[in-house]
Symmetry: C2
Subunit: 138 residues, 2 copies
């Protein structure tokens, strides 16, 4: 992985550590990063993104806690094999949170001038893409 | 508007003021709040959401700066008539930001166990809804 794949907005209201974790999580979920792949060192990524190294370390720890990364000292960070949580267990919290955040995201984009047509187009594109992300897992 | 329409998650990494602004913005964009509607006072909403009143005041200021609210002292907050920005001017920033945040949001939900089918279903539902939000404006 190169830092080129990660873009964060230092003026955003979302903390940088959460943005970095979110960007890397997207690469993991879409299998752009696969089990065994190495990640940049904390210091390297911090330099590339012009953030404090603690910010990157916090993002890596979040992803390690989620089961995505192996952070063993001296070995750097590496992607672990991880299967998607079953999700069939009836946990409705991710669904409710997703709907709420999608609604907020759409409202923000609409308020900034994206047309309903452009938003609907993006949603449909992603509805198609998202099926491709996780195929082969089922 | 009642505070019942607003839900925030105090354990979220997104600051409470941004969540409150996001929730109210969604009500504004979908016309659940319309021009002339009064908003709860800062203190009332702060009590309802169990946050500091400065947190609500910050959310109201953000929405006032965006042209949604009239905050004239002594009159409380009221929804202003506001037309959606034209958006045809070629400003690509909202589009790029939207795509990036949608991608992060989908990755988070997938990592938490939402199935590709459930995600695609939600995206399609919202693609339909979003056209309805702004109809009558064009």
């Amino acid at each position: 992985m190169t830092a080129k794949l990660i873009e964060i907005d230092l003026s955003s209201e979302v903390p940088a550590y959460a943005q970095i974790a979110g960007e890397i999580r997207a690469l993991l979920v879409t299998s752009e990063l696969r089990a065994g792949d190495p990640l940049p060192t904390v210091r390297q990524l911090a330099v590339d993104l012009t953030v404090h190294h603690n910010t990157v370390a916090q993002a890596y720890r979040i992803l390690a806690d989620e089961g995505w990364l192996d952070l063993r000292r001296g070995r750097g960070a590496r992607v672990l094999p991880r299967s998607r949580p079953a999700g069939g267990g009836g946990d409705k919290k991710p669904h409710a949170t997703f709907r709420q955040q999608l609604r907020r995201l759409l409202a923000k984009a609409a308020a900034e001038g994206m047309s309903p047509e452009a938003l609907a187009h993006q949603l449909k594109l992603h509805a198609r893409d998202v099926r491709g992300w996780l195929k082969g897992e089922a």
